[in-house]
């Protein structure tokens, strides 16, 4: 909200509102309202179902207002045999945070090098990053990676989940493109002329400028890893799951009990909602910072 106060005087300085290119028209507002309704509604509905009884969930048309069964449904999720929901949440928090920090650091470093530094083989290496993104590793990596983890004796450990997730060409590519846009070459050259070494340039020049990109990458990585399913299912045992594996176990065992599944899903997004509420300002704030840049 600080930004609103910062931008408002600018608008008045620009003179008549009609000239202001950042004025929101009624059409824009209507479109946004619709987009937000569509974005929120399925999530809202999921939470509604989680608060109802199973009979309500099957009525046509379905209910649109909350009921009173949320506490009991959540209790049922944590009590559910074979699901190990609490362990799943803790494991997922550890895995998603570690991978997020790792990917953001790795990608910001590499992105800066690709976007702002000259070195032999740069284009070839960047191309290879893009190429690696195109490999359907999700489908084909599973068997060889599993065998690797067996050889290393790492099955059913969190590091076996974390390490392969750190390979993320997408992050490198995103940060390369973002750095290209946010850090002008001249700036890097200027700092170098001033005697700064590369690490210092990265830390003092690039990182502050690409923070919005890092924020987007961080939130996206956290959510994707949080929702990742296939690899943890294979490498971890069912009594030591991630939250998605636990959710799947719940879905398997009580597949017709929508209320229970939706309650499980609702619980599974609570940590993400917390990330949103606690860090939302920073995440989106990173974007806002760009807004006041002259």
């Amino acid at each position: 909200m600080t930004t609103l106060t910062q931008t408002r005087p600018r608008a008045s300085r620009a003179g008549s509102a009609r000239l202001d290119p950042f004025r929101a028209t009624p059409f824009t507002k209507a479109m946004l309202a619709l987009a937000i309704f569509l974005s929120i509604f399925p999530i809202y509905w999921m939470i509604i179902i989680a608060t109802r009884s199973n009979e309500d969930a099957h009525s046509v048309p379905p209910p649109f207002l909350p009921g009173g069964n949320l506490g009991e449904n959540i209790q049922a999720v944590f009590d559910a045999e074979n699901a190990h929901f609490m362990t799943g949440i803790i494991n997922s928090i550890i895995i998603a945070s570690t991978v997020t920090v790792g990917i953001v650091v790795i990608s910001t470093l590499a992105g800066f090098a690709f976007a702002s530094l000259n070195f032999r083989g740069r284009n070839l290496l960047l191309l290879s990053v893009v190429l690696t993104m195109m490999v359907p590793l999700q489908q084909m990596g599973i068997v060889p990676l599993y065998q690797m983890m067996v050889t290393l004796g790492w099955t059913n450990t969190l590091k076996a989940v974390i390490l392969p997730f750190l390979v993320n060409g997408f992050g490198v590519f995103l940060m390369t493109q973002y750095t290209r846009q946010a850090v002008p070459r001249e700036l890097v050259e200027a700092a170098r002329v001033d005697g700064a070494n590369t690490i210092r340039i990265w830390w003092n020049v690039a990182v502050p400028a690409v923070r919005p990109g890092m924020a987007v990458l961080a939130i996206q990585t956290f959510m994707l890893i949080w929702n990742e399913f296939l690899w943890p299912l294979i490498i971890l045992t069912p009594d030591n799951p991630t939250v998605q594996v636990a959710l799947r176990a719940l879905n398997d065992r009580y597949s017709t009990n929508y209320v229970l599944i939706f309650a499980g899903t609702t619980i599974s997004i609570i940590p993400l909602l917390l990330v949103f509420v606690l860090f939302g300002r920073q995440i989106i704030g990173g974007l806002m910072e760009g807004a006041v840049k002259e």
């Binding site: 974005s39 200027a190 700092a191 590369t198 949080w226 806002m288």
Partner: protein
């Protein structure tokens, strides 16, 4: 030295040639030469080291497997390129390619256009921007599994909400899984619901690096908001648009979870493979029929297909700004 204090990003304000004479001599020059030459490799090495361990090995393994009649937990016989020749003559494989490309087109084109418009709208002056932006990003917090469960119910033939709504207008119940077009549309809406807001935020982040005075100058020159959008915003967003197009291409070509959930968890993608994607084909061959060698060959062909289409898209989008 002003650089030694924590000057942050304000260093960029320093005039560039003021201190040229202060460059350190002798051995420090060697160090700085090393810094210039070696540092870039140091910066990219974490990624490539990890990739070498957890990426190259599976890739080479898969290539090796694709040259075999390799049964999962069964016999393995070297057969050279036979899997590839068989695959290229397999109409089921080509059917899955057509489905993948079709779903990709009807999902991605509207998605990226909508995301651009949405980002442009979010870039306006509005009350409660933070809430607006977070709301648009909200679908990302739900898992694919949850999305699929909700949407599959929405699209249910007998008890689904969409058919119920349509029935209010006298439309007969549609069996969404039964026809190519209906199933493609249903799957595309799932994909778009999840990713449009995210792409909008990426565009928004890039839009905010565009200097405001460009727009103000254009506005003073009398350019309409629409002309500003197509004349300033879109061309300047080109690197980001290229990025999202390539990422969407990859995502589209490896589309898997949504169609699987839509088809009751089966890899067949409908009774006649109406919505079987290539990724589903691979999993069906490798992990349902246990023809791991055949699946590995299909994965390599998929890789080539992604490469080709990413190049085509790249070329198309690059032309975008030129037509200005």
């Amino acid at each position: 030295m002003s650089l030694d204090v924590d000057a942050g990003h304000r260093t960029r304000m320093l005039p560039s040639n003021q201190r040229r004479h202060a460059r350190p001599p002798g051995p420090r020059r060697l160090l700085s030469w090393l810094d210039l030459r070696a540092a870039p490799y140091f910066f990219v090495s974490p990624y490539f080291v990890l990739f070498a361990i957890f990426g190259i090995f599976p890739l080479i393994f898969t290539l090796w497997v694709s040259l075999h009649d390799w049964q999962l937990a069964g016999d393995k016989t070297f057969i050279g390129m036979e899997n590839y020749t068989e695959l290229l003559a397999d109409d089921k494989f080509w059917n899955s390619v057509v489905n993948t490309v079709g779903i990709f087109m009807i999902a991605t084109v509207p998605q990226l256009l909508l995301a651009l418009l949405l980002a442009n709208a979010l870039n306006k002056k509005l009350r409660g921007r933070l809430v607006l932006r977070l709301s648009v990003l909200a679908p990302l917090i739900t898992s694919v599994v949850a999305v699929a469960v909700v949407f599959t119910q929405l699209y249910g033939r007998d008890y689904g909400l969409v058919n119920w709504l349509l029935s209010l207008f006298g439309v007969d119940a549609i069996h969404w899984q039964n026809e190519k077009w209906t199933s493609w549309v249903a799957i595309a809406t799932m994909v778009d619901w999840r990713w449009t807001g995210y792409n909008a935020i990426i565009y928004l982040a890039a839009m905010q690096t565009i200097p405001k005075d460009l727009y103000e100058a254009a506005a003073i020159d009398g350019a309409s908001p629409r002309r500003q959008f197509w004349g300033i915003t879109v061309p300047l967003l080109k690197p980001t648009i290229i990025f999202t197009v390539i990422v969407s291409t990859i995502g589209g070509f490896t589309l898997f979870a949504e169609p699987v959930m839509f088809g009751a968890g089966l890899m067949t993608g409908g009774t006649t493979g109406q919505f079987q994607t290539v990724a589903m084909f691979i999993v069906k061959e490798g992990f349902r029929d246990f023809q791991y060698g055949y699946a590995a060959a299909a994965a390599w062909i998929l890789f080539l297909l992604i490469l080709i289409s990413a190049l085509i898209n790249f070329a198309l989008v690059r032309g975008l700004g030129r037509s200005r």
